[in-house]
């Protein structure tokens, strides 16, 4: 495979052209999330409406995507988010990214807006835009099948949007390989706003390591660590992520009914253990993944993948729903219609609270079931309405913050920067609250998964109730994650691997001059540039680096973590300082100089 390139797609002009990658940017920002962020920062006009033709939609692989390093199949979608108004960078696995790598392109930059629906077909270095009028309105599964048939190559890979993205739902995702999602921050709506229905890729190149012998030894060591690690070698392969349900529920930090409580008596009914006994039919791996956390499931009338832990919680306990069947069904609907499951669940739960407290009037439901916590019918019905952007579902499809604002009570939206929170209560797990609050893409657990030390005890056990030391842990996790997200590898490897392992893989695999320290510095640079992007787009740290009032002022009412509130107020000032930012959360010139950011 020749040197990796970039493909620029101008949908307004209907043209495609190849460009070389910027080698300085690769050196400084690696690829994936980092390269995409640099590109967006340099090219996007400040203040651009995320759903206008001025926004840019970037698909970026890491240098190791498509390689034989463990989990080397990830790609990142970077754009300005229509949900948060800040940077979006949504990661996905499956096989699409690896196939893109085989075409010789590391990144795609999609600009402008097509006059009519189109899809992009990339076969090796050739790319063309094709009419997608007949695909518009189809769900992600039907779209994938139709595109594969039309390009005439069943081994091609397809990333596409469903009706939610077409109709500009701000919580719409991009689905690749039918079941994997670049889920968060509404990236699917940006694709829809450009009238781009799908991107099909097929390549014939193969990965060539910079130093094959060095990589061989690095892989031997890395694979051994992954195999011997309790999480990557046994826990995730055996149970997937769903086994976390019971752990978090036992700790009383498993949010229930839109974070009104944090322990759910019925959670066992949708736990990983229950899933294994009932609807589980198999397990799946993404490209080059030795872990295989994916779960295959089947209902009586359909089958699919998932739900993962986050989805079980978002569509389950957060909506007060116990049973697996409706959760699995709603998960399938999200994947088919193209909705982010975390934000979908967070929006339905907010709608349920708004309805139960009398702020959404019954007449607004039309013929739909009442939005009551625990109602499986409501969960399935309103997920579908949201995905189809119909009726009250049209309002819900804009996410919980805009829904709450519309009905006069945005305080019931459990969001950071208007993005719905994941499945860990930051009142009972202090460090993850810091990650939520300062995450550049809005509430997110995988910008720095402090659950690993705070709950699981990896690499060492930290007390989830205390704040001391969490700022330092947060910064290291945030920097390391930014680097992993830029490499093309999956974050789950970090249960077993450390910064030095990733640096070695990038060094021998992609010829990058990195060690553990410079890898973390690259992560720091990426995080800081995301911050600069957000500040340029109007981020007010005092207003935006925070948690919902409920989590700051309402203690967990009962259970093991009873009485706990989030104390981000004591962690954030320390975190800013460690980052080299001023007390207002703005990177200091000296820090930018240190990182080589101009």
């Amino acid at each position: 495979m020749e040197a990796l390139r970039l493909l620029r797609v101008d949908l307004s002009a209907g043209t495609v052209k190849q460009e070389p990658l910027n080698p300085d940017w690769v050196r400084q920002f690696i690829g994936g999330r980092g390269y995409g962020t640099k590109l967006l920062y340099e090219e996007l006009k400040p203040g651009t409406d995320p759903l206008s033709e001025g926004n840019k939609l970037i698909f970026a692989n890491g240098p190791l995507t498509g390689s034989n390093v463990p989990t080397g199949g990830r790609y990142m979608v970077v754009t300005k988010s229509p949900l948060t108004g800040f940077i979006a960078s949504s990661n996905s696995g499956g096989y699409w990214g690896a196939e893109l790598a085989r075409t010789g392109y590391m990144a795609l930059v999609v600009e402008g807006k097509s006059k009519k629906p189109v899809y992009l077909w990339i076969k090796d270095d050739k790319a063309e835009l094709r009419d997608a009028s007949s695909l518009w309105g189809k769900d992600t599964h039907a779209t994938t099948d139709a595109v594969l048939k039309e390009v005439g190559d069943p081994k091609a890979r397809v990333a596409c949007i469903g009706p939610a993205g077409e109709k500009l739902s701000r919580i719409a995702c991009i689905i690749n390989d039918k079941h994997r999602a670049a889920g968060r921050s509404g990236v699917g709506a940006v694709m829809g706003s450009k009238n781009l229905k799908a991107i099909a890729v097929k390549g014939s190149g193969t990965f060539k390591a910079a130093n094959p012998e060095g990589l061989k030894e690095t892989l031997r060591v890395g694979m051994q660590k992954i195999k011997e690690n309790g999480v990557t070698g046994e826990g995730l392969p055996t149970y997937g992520t769903a086994v976390l349900v019971n752990i978090l529920n036992q700790l009383g930090s498993y949010p229930y009914k839109n974070f009104q409580e944090s322990q759910h008596e019925g959670a066992e009914k949708h736990s990983g253990e229950k899933l294994a006994e009932t609807f589980l039919t198999g397990r799946t791996n993404c490209f080059a993944c030795p872990i295989g956390c994916g779960r295959e499931t089947a209902l009586e009338d359909k089958k699919g993948e998932g739900p993962e832990y986050e989805t079980l919680w978002a569509l389950g306990s957060n909506c007060g729903v116990d049973d697996l069947e409706p959760i699995i069904r709603a998960n399938y609907i999200c994947n088919e219609l193209g909705l982010d499951t975390i934000s979908a669940g967070g929006t339905i739960s907010a709608a349920m609270e708004l309805y139960e407290k009398g702020f959404i009037p019954k007449e607004d439901l039309g013929v739909g079931p009442e939005l009551k916590f625990g109602s499986a019918d409501a969960l399935v019905y309103w997920t579908e309405k949201m995905g189809k952007v119909e009726g009250l579902g049209e309002k819900m499809a804009q996410g919980s913050y805009r829904l709450g604002e519309l009905y006069g009570h945005p305080e019931f939206s459990i969001t950071v920067k208007k993005q719905e929170l994941p499945a860990y209560d930051p009142r009972g797990i202090q460090g993850i609250g810091l990650t939520y609050a300062v995450s550049n893409r809005g509430a997110c657990h995988v910008r720095g998964y402090l659950i690993s030390p705070e709950v699981l005890g990896i690499p060492e056990k930290l007390d989830p109730w205390v704040t001391e030391g969490k700022a330092q842990w947060g910064k290291i996790f945030h920097d390391l994650t930014a680097a992993i997200d830029s490499s093309g590898m999956c974050l789950f490897t970090s249960f077993a691997l450390g910064a030095g392992d990733y640096a070695d893989m990038l060094k021998h695999g992609a010829g990058m001059d990195l060690d553990a320290d410079s890898l973390l510095e690259a992560g720091d640079r990426i995080w800081t540039l995301e911050r600069l992007f957000n500040l340029r787009e109007g981020l007010d740290p005092a207003r935006d680096d925070t948690l919902p009032v409920r989590l700051l002022e309402e203690p967990i009412p009962k259970g093991p973590a009873e009485g706990k509130k989030s104390r981000i107020d004591v962690m954030i000032p320390e975190y800013y300082k460690l980052r080299g930012w001023d007390e207002k959360g703005v990177p200091k010139p000296s820090k930018l100089a240190e990182l080589g950011i101009k």
Partner: protein, 90 residues
């Protein structure tokens, strides 16, 4: 009595979701009693945990034992111990 709940692969090893055990002095004593009851598979898990403190997640009344005395954490009548394998996720 102490209520003990099992999860994940541990549940498969012991073959039941939950059991009751006569009150023991500490978590370590309780694990030893359980090893005697459930045999080699469970015993191996426990041994690994005692050596490396990694292979099980033990939650006593909603708190990870690491923060309440580790394996020496004292037990009292009516306590609830949840026994998980080491797992992870996102």
């Amino acid at each position: 009595m102490i209520r003990v709940s099992f999860f994940g692969i541990v549940r498969e090893i012991v073959g039941e979701k939950e059991t009751q055990v006569e009150a023991e002095d500490s978590v370590a004593d309780l694990l030893e009693a359980l090893s005697g009851r459930y045999g080699i598979g469970f015993g191996e898990k426990v041994l690994k945990t005692q050596e490396r403190d990694l292979d099980l997640i033990l939650i006593l009344n909603g708190r990870h034992i690491e923060h309440i005395g580790g394996l020496s954490a004292p037990l009292k009548e009516g306590d609830h111990l949840a026994v998980f394998p080491l797992v992870g996720g996102g």
